[in-house]
């Protein structure tokens, strides 16, 4: 398993202003194409509030986001807005050219320097992995929430987008270093 660096440009020389906040809708469909869409005119007006507060049964933290309905290509969509947990930020990016002129990137050549210490926590990285050139992403928009939509079915706990957000909320805890004392304490309580 190799690991690579990604360079994220939030301000690049070519962009005039800092990236704007975007409203994202995560639809229950796929397309291979990318193009402009008049969301404000042709999607937003179809959005209705089904239920003002979206408390889902069994959820520990009650969601105050309303349950929504909308219509897309005649399909009934039902969805809810998911807010990114603290410490997270969303970026909509496009690929930039990986070049050595971008700070920190190898520009396609292997470098003997710069161990990827920050990527280490997930990998358990081994020495001698083949290094890829650094990727360069340019941030076009930022976001703090996503509204996701199901085809017909109301939003539920097992929905994929919700499970992704669940992971984000616990990821930090999972990666938090644990001391020997904490392990011993936990084992003591389990034995009781």
């Amino acid at each position: 398993m190799s690991h690579s660096k990604v360079h994220l440009s939030i301000h690049s020389a070519r962009q005039q202003q800092p990236p704007a906040e975007a409203t994202l809708h995560w639809l229950p469909c796929k397309t291979g194409q990318s193009c402009d869409a008049d969301v404000a005119k042709l999607f937003n007006p179809t959005i209705q509030v089904l239920k003002p507060s979206g408390d889902l049964q069994g959820e520990a933290s009650s969601s105050t986001q309303p349950l929504l309905e909308a219509s897309f290509r005649g399909r009934q969509l039902r969805g809810q807005r998911l807010v990114l947990p603290p410490g997270y930020k969303g970026f909509v990016t496009t690929a930039g050219a990986p070049s050595s002129s971008v700070q920190g990137c190898t520009g396609g050549e292997e470098s003997q320097e710069d161990e990827d210490e920050d990527l280490g926590e997930v990998e358990g990285s081994a020495q001698g992995q083949r290094r890829r050139p650094c990727k360069h992403w340019i941030v076009r928009h930022t976001f703090d929430s996503v509204t996701y939509w199901n085809h017909d079915t109301p939003p539920g706990r097992s929905d994929l987008p919700r499970r992704v957000f669940d992971w984000m909320a616990v990821a930090k805890q999972v990666h938090q270093p644990v001391s020997r004392e904490q392990v011993e304490e936990q084992m003591r309580t389990m034995q009781l």
């Binding site: 469909c29 397309t31 219509s71 399909r75 997930v122 085809h151 992704v164």
Partner: protein
């Protein structure tokens, strides 16, 4: 009734002319049911019921054969019915959006089922209002006998007469026919305004064979949303579906793949996946191969391995 009150862009809407407080409502009453706008690819479908005392004679009122009447004459008769203390009505407007949503849902609700449910709803509404219903007359397409049986099962206290051309045979059905047609036309006009179609623009009758309608559909195609006034269109109609498939960007719904059918319900198997042709356009989930099932289930890929 003002045009705006007939607007139904989303879901369904029930409209009534309630005469249940009149003394005749407690006496035996008859109900006539008819629909309008079943066939068109644009706008709402309306199911309407007209209720009148069993003893009344509506045959002289010229409600008959509503298809032969001009729009103006129909409008005038509709006003007569609304103002007549001896005739009540109850109608449900089913928006194009609602029809599309039901027919394209995972349950694939058929138009016939929608028709039946709407019929049940308005009969129930009339009964709940307190009219003493005895007989119901319904115009039908398809198997009249079977439909009559189902209705009798739902409403054992009522006597049903189901037959084609009932709107020509029974004046109370003709009255319902007029209510349905007028509400359908007004709903379409109202929707037209709501979605910003200019008044001079011709939608035609809304039937798929109508050249005005065909021309309008073609002129309002939209790359992403199918049509630039999507709330007017029944996407479940083959006409609309075909146009969208031919001209708009290719969009595949996961729900369709689960069904194994395409939107028009022809039963052909549909493959959902896009072949990840190049690294650039690769679908993210393939990148998750080799990772723990927890991440694969959530389609989470390592950031550096993506794109």
């Amino acid at each position: 009734m003002a045009g705006e009150a007939c607007s139904c862009l989303y879901g369904t809407r029930v409209l009534e002319s309630d005469k249940s407080e009149e003394s005749w409502a407690g006496q035996p009453c008859v109900l006539g049911i008819d629909e309008a706008g079943r066939g068109p690819v644009l706008g709402a479908m309306v199911y309407a019921a007209a209720v009148a005392p069993e003893s009344s004679d509506l045959s002289g009122r010229d409600f008959n054969d509503s298809k032969a009447l001009t729009a103006e004459r129909r409008d005038s008769l509709f006003d007569d019915i609304s103002n007549d203390p001896q005739i009540g009505y109850c109608a449900e407007i089913l928006s194009a959006q609602f029809i599309s949503a039901c027919m394209l849902s995972r349950d694939r609700v058929s138009l016939n089922l929608l028709a039946m449910e709407s019929t049940y709803k308005i009969i129930r509404s009339i009964m709940d209002k307190g009219y003493k219903l005895t007989k119901v007359f319904i115009d039908t397409v398809g198997d009249a006998e079977r439909y009559a049986q189902r209705l009798a099962q739902q409403f054992p206290s009522l006597q049903f007469t189901v037959c084609p051309k009932a709107d020509a045979l029974y004046p109370v059905v003709s009255a319902a026919s007029i209510v349905a047609k007028v509400l359908r036309d007004r709903a379409l006009e109202s929707n037209k305004k709501d979605v910003g179609v200019e008044e001079h623009v011709q939608l035609g009758s809304g039937y798929p064979a109508d050249p005005h309608t065909k021309a309008w559909l073609r002129s309002s195609l939209n790359n992403v949303f199918g049509f630039s006034q999507p709330q007017l269109v029944r996407f479940s109609w083959e006409t609309a579906n075909k146009l969208v498939a031919e001209t708009a960007i290719d969009i595949k719904f996961e729900a369709d793949a689960d069904e194994g059918k395409d939107a028009a319900g022809s039963g052909t198997q549909q493959r959902l996946s896009f072949a990840p042709a190049t690294r650039q356009g690769a679908v993210v989930e393939t990148q998750a191969l080799g990772r723990h099932a927890y991440f694969r289930a959530r389609k989470l890929a390592r950031i550096g391995d993506s794109f």
